[in-house]
């Protein structure tokens, strides 16, 4: 069975100006991620992994090339179009969890899905159960451990059943055992929801647990 391509990146370029000098971070990256596929994006520091992730998420604009998410070209979208895309088609998980501190775990979990109008109570219940968050729903993020926070972040990102889950060093702040546990959960839920996973990681050990590895070197896929 062939799986549909959810992310198609072609000839992506991006450079920054720093201290009056133009630094090319991405020099023509090509990449695809299929539904239910988990891809690890690896590379040394400064290779452009996080930049690529931010461009795919529509958080920043590329200088050249194309990103198509579910057939939609991100470059053709304006600011609100990109925001809408993030809301409904993407799930984002960061190293620092970036939960909303003023909302309880329950409110954090449903925040994006309800905002996107894609709230599915059954899926929410399943997420809560599989992430083991049932007894933490009334707590605030700062009352949770790092592993618990990251589980909430994954739940929030997947609650709207996105096309693609983007994770930037999601286990960077966790110990090895917790990292393994969280990642296993994430992979399982990605498969259950049918979305793709693109994960930036430094860990070759964790990268090896995913379906495919893409290594960035000097701004291009090595």
């Amino acid at each position: 069975m062939t799986r549909s391509i959810v992310l198609h990146v072609t000839g992506l370029t991006k450079s920054y100006r720093a201290a009056g000098e133009e630094i090319a971070v991405l020099r023509g990256v090509n990449l695809t991620v299929a539904a239910q596929e988990s891809v690890a994006l690896t590379g040394e520091s400064g290779s452009g992994k996080s930049t690529l992730l931010h461009l795919v998420a529509g958080l920043d604009a590329a200088d050249g090339g194309e990103i198509r998410l579910g057939g939609v070209s991100i470059a053709e979208l304006d600011d609100s179009g990109r925001a809408e895309l993030r809301r409904g088609r993407l799930g984002l998980v960061f190293q620092q969890f970036n939960l909303i501190p003023s909302l309880t775990v329950a409110d954090n979990l449903v925040f994006q899905s309800r905002l996107a109008g894609r709230h599915d109570p059954d899926w929410y219940e399943e997420l809560v159960e599989r992430l083991g968050l049932g007894h933490l729903l009334k707590r605030y993020p700062e009352q949770l451990s790092g592993g618990q926070q990251q589980r909430v972040a994954i739940g929030r990102a997947l609650a709207a059943k996105p096309l693609l889950l983007l994770a930037d060093e999601p286990t960077g702040n966790l110990d090895e055992a917790t990292a393994d546990e969280v990642l296993a959960l994430a992979r399982d839920l990605v498969t259950r929801s049918g979305c793709g996973l693109l994960m930036v990681t430094h860990s070759t050990r964790l990268a090896a647990t995913l379906d495919r590895q893409v290594n960035l070197h000097a701004g291009v896929v090595a």
């Binding site: 996080s50 925001a83 984002l92 909303i100 501190p101 003023s102």
Partner: protein
């Protein structure tokens, strides 16, 4: 940003406090000048027990008996329609402790005492008279006065001449009004053995009459200055708190590198004091300009309310500059106290996880609410047991402090309620995040609450006063024309002429005398029994049929402030000192007499002239049909060569009274606006300093699909909503402040109680102003957020807090 905020707060606090202090000092210097002038209240005095003038022979007898006395004759003199205090002194016997004596004596004594003599005046008085030094003014009666000579120590509005010349000018030959008493060199005979019981010794008093009368005015100014100072300190506290939080990692590193907590604190204090010195100096310069700008209105208020003459040129003592710098440093240290204590107790190893904000917030809200309840309880106790102006202000302070402290709890309750009823995710976040922001904004919101409540309170008081005053003015100024003749002879001529004029429906003679009751000055007003007064006089309480009962001369109407001071009610009896002996009177009514610092007693005019035979009978009111007024005024001025001030129609007099009234409250309005402005700045600086620390809260929302523009709008709405809740809370609080001002402070300060009115349109206007201030304060941070580059937000996910 924190540095700018800190400096703005300190400059604003110091400027407003120092400005108000400069005004108070300027006025107090003027009172001192007035008091020290030729034996004011700073010198012991002998005065007549019945308030009448004394024969000069008494002075001779007392000197012979060894009393170091010097005679003084006081009266009022009109020049070009303006009234001046004329003071006749005898320079040879002036006591040494009367500071100005030497400059009169020695070389100038001969020219001062021998005809035509000299008339000593302050530079301001010379400017008022529009004459050069050496020129001779002419009194309204036509008498040529001695050549003018400037003496800078004199109080404005006072003319000093030799006592012999004063007796001639005032038409009181051989009479004196009081005797200054110097320090006795040896023993002297008892006072009773020389003068019987005619004289009363008044010891030198640290507080002059003027100081006592104007105390409440200055207390009001000080209260405003203090409020502005505190609002400014809110900004400082907020800036220092945030700067400290941001420096926490550096401070920890320094401590870890071996810097002792004491050394760290010493450096922080030194840094703060240096900044406070710079801000203090800038604040003082700003304070000087604020005081200069407000001085004309303050001077006009003090002149209008109390007859006090304040020079228009600001002169400041070195203490003012030193006090300003000190207040800036003390204020900065007070505002930084919490942060400095934290630095002193800073643990080397900080807990890694962020503060549990909602638990900390709950604890903080509980403490503050407990303190607020304690403040309310203290206020209630003061209201119940207190009976002084200070306790009135303390009630106000407790009320405002309690309200400011309980504000975060009120906001928390309202925001929680909002959150409970919200269902959409963004709305839920809106309320939840507003709650979380509360601790960072609460100081600025407290400042806004205080400024708004005081604005509502003072505006309501002024408006209530204005409404009552206008009605009262209609009652008090019931005659159509007011005439003041140069002397009794001219008054007789005018009356005779007026009787021939068919358009004059009534001539209402009036008279005034001065006396003292219970040691305080009292004005005695004589009114004829006429329908003009029966229909219009602003009686607050009366026994009924009062005007007929006044006629025999054994009853009186008492002004509200005198009734309160002497605890008089209708039916009580008073003994009024009069030249012919004590005058027993029954109180048959109490009337409003707003704006008069002295107590006033109104009696029948004929009875007054019988009991006080020496009073001038130069004043009269006329009843004339309104269309005939301008022609009659013109005829009177032409026929009797009367100046503009001597013949005034009712409309002009009312307009003048309203102008004085409005000017009286111009200072209050200006300080009100300043305080609101400072509160606006407090809100702006809090929002600006919060803006950076808000990014970690906002970036995740942007990441999950909310545009920067929408986030900016939500941030704006959040600020506006907490500002609106604060404003709505400020309205009833402000009305309570107004009630305190009207029912407690005004009664204690001025002696009158005004009816309490609510002015809904003014409240609506103030809500608009508050929201406009919040909008202005929120605009910059919100615009910055709306235009923020994605890179700045992305950095949040990379670097983290």
């Amino acid at each position: 940003m924190q540095l700018a905020t800190l400096l703005i707060g300190l400059v604003a606090a110091t400027a407003l406090w120092s400005g108000v202090q400069a005004l108070n000092q300027q006025a107090r210097n003027a009172y001192d000048r007035a008091a020290a002038t030729f034996g004011g209240a700073r010198t012991a005095m002998l005065v007549s027990r019945d308030g009448a003038s004394l024969p000069q022979q008494l002075f001779v007898d007392l000197r012979r008996a060894g009393w170091p006395v010097s005679p003084v004759l006081e009266g009022r003199l009109q020049i070009e329609g303006r009234s001046f205090a004329l003071l006749g002194i005898e320079p040879v016997t002036l006591p040494a402790e009367v500071g100005n004596a030497p400059s009169v004596g020695r070389s100038g004594m001969v020219s001062f005492m021998t005809p035509p003599g000299e008339m000593l005046v302050a530079p301001e008085t010379l400017a008022d008279l529009k004459l050069a030094e050496g020129a001779r003014a002419r009194a309204n009666g036509g008498a040529l006065l001695p050549p003018l000579r400037v003496q800078s120590q004199l109080a404005p509005g006072v003319l000093v001449v030799d006592i012999g010349i004063a007796q001639t000018i005032l038409g009181m030959p051989g009479q004196i009004t009081r005797l200054m008493v110097g320090k006795a060199a040896g023993k002297h005979a008892s006072l009773a053995s020389v003068a019987g019981d005619r004289l009363h010794l008044i010891e030198p008093d640290a507080d002059t009459d003027l100081e006592r009368l104007t105390d409440s005015f200055h207390l009001n100014l000080t209260a405003f200055g203090l409020l502005s100072f505190l609002v400014g300190l809110f900004i400082v506290n907020s800036a220092i708190g945030l700067a400290f939080e941001q420096r926490l990692p550096v401070l920890r590193t320094l401590r870890a590198c071996g810097v002792s907590a004491r050394m760290l604190n010493a450096v922080l204090v030194a840094e703060l004091v240096s900044l406070a010195l710079v801000a203090g100096l800038i604040g003082l310069v700003c304070g000087y300009y604020i005081a200069s700008a407000l001085l004309p209105d303050v001077a006009a208020s003090l002149r209008g309310l109390y007859g006090a003459q304040i020079p228009g040129q600001l002169s400041l003592r070195p203490e003012w500059w030193l006090a300003g710098i000190a207040i800036s440093v003390i204020g900065a240290l007070a505002a930084a106290a919490t942060s400095l204590t934290k630095a002193l107790r800073l643990p080397l190893l900080a807990a890694a996880q962020p503060r549990a904000w909602h638990q900390a917030q709950r604890r903080w809200l509980t403490y503050q609410s407990a303190l607020a309840l304690a403040a309310f309880a203290a206020g209630g106790g003061l209201l119940w047991f207190g009976d002084s102006l200070m306790s009135g202000f303390a009630v106000l302070a407790a009320l405002l402090l309690g309200a400011a402290l309980i504000l975060p709890a009120v906001l928390e309750a309202v925001l929680s309620l909002g959150q409970r009823f919200a269902s959409r995710p963004l709305t839920v976040w809106f309320w939840a995040d507003s709650r979380q922001q509360l601790s960072g904004l609460s100081l600025a919101l407290m400042a806004l609450l205080l400024a708004l409540a005081v604005n509502v309170g003072v505006a309501t008081m002024v408006e209530s006063f204005s409404r009552t005053f206008l009605v009262w003015l209609d009652g008090r100024l019931a005659a159509d024309i007011y005439v003041s003749a140069a002397n009794d002879e001219q008054a007789m001529e005018i009356k005779a002429w007026l009787r021939e004029r068919p358009e004059v429906a009534a001539i209402l003679p009036g008279g005034r005398a001065d006396t003292q009751i219970a040691g305080a000055p009292v004005e005695v007003l004589g009114l004829p029994d006429h329908a003009t007064y029966r229909d219009n006089w602003p009686l607050l309480q009366s026994a009924g049929n009062v005007w007929s009962r006044l006629r025999p001369g054994d009853a009186a109407l008492v002004s509200e402030q005198l009734a309160r001071r002497l605890k008089l009610s209708v039916g009580d009896r008073i003994e009024m000192p009069a030249p012919g002996g004590s005058w027993p009177l029954q109180v048959i009514g109490i009337y409003a007499d707003y704006g008069n610092p002295k107590g006033q007693i109104t009696v029948n005019f004929a009875a007054l002239t019988r009991r006080f035979p020496g009073i001038p009978l130069t004043r009269m009111g006329l009843r004339v049909a309104p269309p005939e007024v301008p022609a009659l005024v013109a005829d009177l001025r032409e026929k009797f060569a009367l100046g503009e001030r001597n013949v005034v129609d009712q409309a002009t007099m009312k307009a003048e009274s309203k102008r004085i009234f409005n000017r009286t409250f111009a200072v209050t309005a200006a300080l009100n606006a300043f305080t609101l402005g400072v509160a606006g700045i407090a809100l702006l600086t809090s929002l600006l300093t919060l803006a950076n620390s808000r990014l970690p809260q906002l970036a995740p929302l942007w990441a999950v699909g909310i545009t920067r523009r929408r986030l900016a709008v939500i941030e704006l709405l959040k600020t506006m909503s907490v500002a609106l809740i604060t404003t709505l809370f400020a309205l009833p609080l402000g009305l309570l402040v107004a009630w305190c001002l009207l029912a407690i402070v005004n009664v204690k300060a001025f002696g009158w109680r005004l009816p309490f009115h609510v002015f809904p349109m003014d409240l609506v206007w103030l809500v608009g102003v508050a929201l406009a201030a919040a909008l202005a304060a929120a605009a910059l941070p919100v615009l910055r957020l709306a235009r923020m580059q994605p890179a700045s937000l992305i950095r949040i996910f990379a670097n983290e807090r």
